[in-house]
């Protein structure tokens, strides 16, 4: 029998605690997914609505009104390749920031490692991502872009870097949002602006050479460019992915540490 000392959970047992609750993580993720789609007419189509709608608008604007040279690749594919992971990034962070406040009745009454809520929110969005990727594959086939190359092996790595970054930010945002309720709005606004700081609408080539090293301090710039390199240029990603990975790891570790530090106050600040 284990002795559970509740006064202050020590760091090493926190991870064991989380593992012991893995069933809860799975159950809560499924619940989030099921609840999201049970009563909706469009169901799984919502997963592709957001990236698709944005892509269509951007395509119209930047093909006909303000043409941007995307190096021989149709604009619609060019931007969709970026929109799909970007949508995962923004929706997962928005959901994570909300995950604690939105489940306060649970947090204030039952004990479980609180990080399960943001984690489940993130995993639930990965499902949407999968559906949107399906449409991406169809697009690539239609435009005859060869993507089945060894460079594809980098995809899981890029995805992991992105998710690590999102999770770190999501944990910090979720914790802060418990204490200061306008954090969510700040983050949503920040994400909207972040879109323009990342090579989603425009190719990286548009960024002046001297500015580029600073440009890639934005980890999502590295991530998005990596997706493009692998899928559209069939190349391995450049060093910007390493930069992005380092930043993502730092953000994740700092975020998790912060989260666990303030976790004990959640139930008291309702």
């Amino acid at each position: 029998m284990t002795v559970a000392e509740i006064t202050s959970p020590p760091a090493r047992s926190r991870f064991q605690h989380l593992l012991a609750h893995r069933d809860l993580l799975v159950a809560w993720t499924l619940r989030t997914i099921r609840a999201r789609y049970k009563q909706s007419v469009l169901g799984g189509l919502w997963a592709i609505l957001q990236p698709t709608a944005s892509t269509i608008i951007f395509s119209l604007v930047f093909t006909y009104f303000v043409p941007i040279d995307t190096g021989g690749i149709p604009y619609i594919v060019f931007s969709y390749v970026a929109m799909v992971p970007w949508t995962l990034f923004t929706t997962s962070i928005a959901d994570m920031v909300d995950s604690l406040v939105g489940n306060m009745n649970l947090v204030s009454k039952i004990y479980f490692p609180r990080e399960i809520l943001p984690l489940a929110a993130l995993l639930a969005r990965v499902l949407d991502f999968g559906i949107a990727v399906g449409l991406l594959i169809l697009l690539m086939l239609y435009f005859r872009i060869p993507f089945l190359t060894p460079a594809l092996l980098y995809l899981p790595i890029i995805l992991v870097v992105q998710m690590a970054l999102a999770l770190g930010l999501g944990l910090i945002g979720a914790a802060l949002n418990v204490f200061y309720r306008d954090v969510k709005h700040l983050i949503v606004l920040g994400l909207q602006l972040w879109l323009y700081a990342s090579p989603i609408i425009y190719p990286v080539t548009k960024v002046p050479e001297w500015l580029r090293p600073y440009y890639f301090i934005n980890p999502m710039a590295g991530v998005i460019e990596s997706y493009r390199a692998v899928l559209l240029a069939q190349q391995a990603p450049g060093n910007y992915l390493i930069t992005a990975a380092c930043i993502a790891i730092i953000v994740l570790v700092a975020g998790y540490y912060f989260f666990k530090k303030v976790e004990f106050q959640f139930a008291d600040v309702v």
């Binding site: 559970a4 006064t7 009745n105 039952i110 139930a267």
Partner: protein
């Protein structure tokens, strides 16, 4: 055997008023501060519980009971003090926690069970028992939002009851649900205790606490004012409320005791038990006649108050509970300053044992108590009959020898 729960000198303070912690404060541990800004939710409470023991925590609303439960289940942390729980625990602080209204009963069983700490495999194994206990077999695949509140409560309790924890913490969730359901819940709690589960039970239902728990802890304004047997704890709580009503510091709604209010417009000044010879007695022979005398002083004008008294066994079972209203006796009006003596004459054909006598003065519309003594005094009954139970029904025995072929004589 090591105690299942150890709660040592635990203090929990909340800062009152607008509270936004600075980031620095949030990162460091919550500490100190000016006294007047703080609400002492739990003030230096200690107790320990062995496996198989049941502790009832009673007290008015806001006394700190739910805070203790939250501290025990790890939802919140103590400002100071130590809490140790040995083994797996399951806390039932809200029925159907995590239930999503759009999901079916089946889906929610897995969800809620996992939240309460069960493994998926455990839930699968116990699924049929859970459904049977809750009695929702036909509605397993209907979304939970279609359930009645009774079904909801039954399902919620059923899942928690099958978690099979080493420590079970139950907050007053059983108020929902009909009598038979509550009986089944109590029976299930007994089963768990027999298996060695330690139980902490918070309730406003004093009879339930007496029935389910061995020991009781009385909370009042954050302090633990009494710890002892469950029956004694109920009495101590009642006395505490009575003292508070008398002090007039608390005017109304000190919760508990089924939310009844003691207004103290009439005050019980004394209770006596007189034997057949008119002298006060404490030991009675079974079958003797006694007179219960209650002296009451009226502080306000009161119309047709209801007088009542109750005889209980020491573990709280009601032997006899009567009121003037039920007997259809019309009581007179009283003026402020008047005194009155109510006498109840009765025979006591009780079996051997110790009994408690409780006395009430109730408002004419049964809405609240003027005064109430849960245990005004105790008395003993001596019985020559070796029978068991409460009442000596004085059975007369006769036997007839029957002939071998069955014919009577």
């Amino acid at each position: 055997m090591a105690p299942s729960i150890q709660f040592e000198q635990v203090i929990k303070k909340y800062r009152i008023g607008q509270w936004l912690p600075s980031i620095r404060e949030a990162l460091g541990r919550f500490s100190g501060g000016r006294a007047e800004n703080y609400h002492m939710a739990v003030d230096n409470v200690s107790f320990a519980l062995e496996p198989g023991e049941a502790l009832g925590i009673i007290g008015p609303n806001g006394a700190g009971k739910t805070t203790i439960l939250k501290l025990l289940s790890g939802v919140t942390y103590p400002t100071s003090g130590q809490i140790n729980i040995r083994g797996r625990y399951s806390a039932l602080i809200e029925l159907g926690a995590g239930f999503h209204p759009d999901l079916t009963g089946r889906e929610n069983i897995f969800l809620n069970g996992t939240i309460l700490g069960m493994r998926r495999a455990d839930i699968r194994n116990r699924f049929d028992q859970i459904v049977e206990f809750a009695g929702i077999g036909n509605f397993l695949d209907t979304p939970v939002k279609r359930y009645s509140s009774g079904m909801y409560a039954r399902l919620g309790f059923s899942i928690a009851a099958h978690v099979d924890p080493d420590v079970l913490i139950v907050d007053e969730v059983l108020a929902v649900g009909d009598y038979s359901f509550q009986q089944r819940c109590h029976a299930r709690m007994d089963e768990l205790r027999a298996k060695g589960t330690a139980l902490i039970f918070v309730s406003h239902d004093m009879d339930a606490v007496r029935r389910v728990c061995d020991r009781g802890l009385v909370m009042y304004r954050g302090k633990n004012i009494f710890q002892g047997s469950a029956a004694e704890a109920v009495v101590a709580y009642s006395d505490a409320v009575r003292r508070a009503a008398r002090d007039l510091k608390t005017t109304t709604a000190e919760g508990g005791l089924a939310e009844r209010v003691m207004s103290f417009d009439a005050e019980i000044e004394g209770v006596t038990l007189l034997g057949a010879n008119g002298r006060p007695i404490t030991v009675v022979q079974s079958g003797d006649s006694v007179t219960v005398g209650v002296d009451i002083k009226f502080h306000k004008d009161i119309e047709e108050p209801i007088f009542s008294f109750t005889i209980r066994t020491t573990d709280g079972r009601i032997v006899y509970d009567t009121t003037t209203r039920w007997k259809k006796i019309r009581t007179p009006n009283f003026v402020a300053g008047e005194r009155c003596r109510v006498e109840y004459k009765l025979d006591l054909p009780l079996l051997e044992g110790e009994y408690d006598l409780g006395v009430d003065v109730i408002s004419t519309d049964f809405s609240h108590y003027y005064d109430r003594l849960e245990r005004a005094m105790g008395f003993w009954v001596k019985s020559a009959d070796g029978a068991q139970g409460l009442v000596d029904l004085d059975a007369k025995v006769a036997f007839h020898r029957l002939a071998l072929n069955g014919a009577g004589d």
